[in-house]
Subunit: 418 residues, 2 copies
């Protein structure tokens, strides 16, 4: 079989499985999840041994420490996977919910009912935890899933895929409902992206180049996370201690993630009184600062920020700082340079809080809270499959509900169109 | 300016307008709509004269009567447009609605708030009514719109665009919130489809080749209507008179539209008693019939249906008929050959009604009602901008709500991530 034929076979059988999975009960899906959690715990030795093959090869290739870290499965990583599965078991099943039901003048009763998307393809880097995370969220939401992870994780992913398929079979669900693509050739990805007759959505998870490749070649709708150029705006009326706590948390608690702050906007009245003190704290926390001209008046020992800095997602202990004359200027800056990901205001002004919430159309907009809360778990969605920065279908963290769509159901008693 | 530069200018100014339009009040948007309705009524002579130029040119090109019909604006067409605008004024504004609001254990109050998509590009054929229909739905839902209609309607569309921009200005909304693309070159479409930094979604409306072109070239998310291979399944327990009424309505009331029935599935027990009588009625209504072998036993004077017929969207007074042994066979047929558009069952069995509603995952699934009800107006959404056959973002008729997305809003009092 050619790679193209292999991918068609995977996608076609996934579609058939999706049809069955769409009507499987929550009890049955939870049974598969419970079995999977047990299998993971009982198969540690096998999983660690398969993962070791990948890790040894990656080391031999000279991959970075961060890469090896993401690739490595330890006994604790496997325990965390199993615990994560048990968390997803507890989440409500979105499938079958009738979100609304209304009566038409002609007597038709019309409703909207949640159904799975169908077949979801996940394209991701060499992170075995994504295989389980994405696999179980798709299963719980009634979707068949095609998992195509990075080639360096193939042994790990195949081992995890085998256990997933065993769990599905033990719960009387077709094992083709979760398939790990066993082909590492890039042609496999390109083949999958052309199968719009079988696959309903593609979710790429990884760096900018992976996402760009998927967008460029996909004939299937793509839901993706682009980048997070997140802002905290400290308004004139902000409580200084709250402002410092939130801004520091947004930058330093985990600087390498998409919901970390990249640019701090400070109202000039706040800056006059507190900027020097505030930036001293960032410096003490090891943050490299880049500032506008006005920032450098208040805190001279700072590199000048260039125009390019305002667009930058540093993902590191680096922060650009700009002093603004008004909330209008802050909102305009966010509109021009932001990525519609996560933006926060710290303020004591009712009016400005409302204006910020209304006028900033990022996926998560916060008043007096850290940008780090843009996360499905933190916002109360349960687990998340990713954060969408496209406004189509889902905007922000995607939980189980975002892995469904709605169909219209109509109860009639003989109605026809006049 | 090159075509590329012209399109960038249109898209960039649309994006700026979208930012302002997102926070414009319902009152102000309704004012623009009211002004537009008046302007249309007051400008009949101008509109008819501009439209006449298009119609004369289309006739000279030898376009079909159906084409000319869709292109032509009469005094009545303009009155209908104005009345349509007044209907949209009465619809509730989806923007700003907070659909849910919940408290997290750390005290954060988290909500989901409806916001416009941003900039919507509509690519359509030579139908001036789409210019107004799509334009007003985008305006009411707070979206800036770029309208690129067929080249044969350019004079008509430009005239309508001028009136729309006058109406926007009179309501203090930037006129670039609704722009008719004045370039008929195909390169203009290709340029627009590459501007993902400015345009949030593309909605093609037209035939299969138009939609295929948009899918192939777009870097922007596409929401489109593919095709409607719609079924009516007459179950063993169906009331014969209701079954005949619904099936005939689904086929003949307006055969050229996407929600007309293309294939009739009949349970063999119903077929034994009533198929000959039923098909006689179709024949009397001028419908050409194609049947499976079993159909031809009950009603011999019918062409044999080929495998290809079951996939066919005739859009005409042609019907394929298949006798099935069970509801399972009917559902399997719909799964294999259908287009997930609209499917109906006529039955008196509670169990089979539930099974059909649960197991058929088409955008609209009906019990004891005609497929012709798959329509935003009929289902109670108010006006519609189209029917999506992709499951992403919207599945089925798209009303004002489907032209929005939700952002998360978070009210805190100093919360940070631990």
């Amino acid at each position: 079989m050619s790679i193209q034929e292999q991918m068609i076979e995977i996608a076609r059988t996934a579609r058939d499985a999706a049809r069955q999975l769409a009507t499987v009960s929550t009890v049955q899906k939870n049974k598969a999840l419970a079995v999977l959690a047990s299998l993971l715990r009982d198969s540690k030795q096998y999983l660690l041994q398969e993962n070791e093959k990948d890790v040894v090869a990656a080391r031999a290739q000279g991959q970075s420490a961060a890469f090896i870290d993401r690739l490595t499965m330890s006994s604790k990583v496997i325990d965390d996977m199993a615990a994560g599965i048990e968390d997803v078991m507890k989440l409500p099943d979105p499938v079958g919910e009738v979100t609304r039901l209304w009566r038409r003048p002609n007597g038709l009763l019309v409703g909207r009912k949640r159904i799975p998307l169908g077949v979801v393809a996940i394209i991701y880097e060499s992170r075995p935890n994504v295989t389980i995370d994405a696999g179980i969220l798709c299963l719980k939401s009634g979707n068949a899933v095609i998992l195509r992870g990075g080639k360096e994780a193939l042994h790990s992913n195949r081992a995890l895929g085998t256990l997933m398929q065993q769990a599905l079979e033990q719960a009387d669900i077709p094992s083709t409902a979760a398939q790990v693509v066993p082909v590492t050739d890039r042609a496999a990805v390109l083949a999958l992206l052309s199968l719009q007759q079988y696959i309903d959505v593609v979710i790429p998870r990884g760096g900018e180049s992976l996402i760009a490749t998927v967008y460029e070649h996909s004939r299937i709708p793509v839901i993706a996370h682009y980048k997070g150029v997140c802002h905290v705006f400290i308004d004139a009326s902000a409580d200084p201690s709250m402002a410092a706590t939130i801004a520091l948390n947004a930058k330093v608690q985990r600087p390498g993630v998409c919901n970390a702050m990249e640019t701090l906007l400070v109202h000039e009245h706040f800056a006059e009184r507190h900027l020097s003190w505030l930036l001293g704290q960032f410096r003490a926390a090891g943050v490299r600062l880049k500032g506008c001209e006005c920032t450098r008046k208040f805190f001279p020992d700072v590199d000048p920020a260039t125009e390019q800095d305002w667009y930058e997602e540093y993902l590191d202990l680096v922060l650009s700082v700009k002093v603004v004359g008004s909330i209008d200027e802050a909102i305009a800056h966010i509109h021009t340079y932001g990525s519609q990901h996560t933006d926060a205001i710290v303020t004591n002004s009712y009016e400005n809080a409302q204006r910020f919430l209304n006028e900033v159309n990022s996926s998560v907009v916060l008043v007096n809270a850290s940008t780090r809360f843009n996360d499905g778990g933190q916002l109360g969605l349960g687990a998340e499959i990713g954060i969408s920065t496209s406004k189509i279908h889902a905007f922000g963290p995607m939980g189980l509900e975002e892995l469904t769509t709605t169909k219209f159901i109509v109860y009639g008693n003989g109605q026809i169109r006049e």
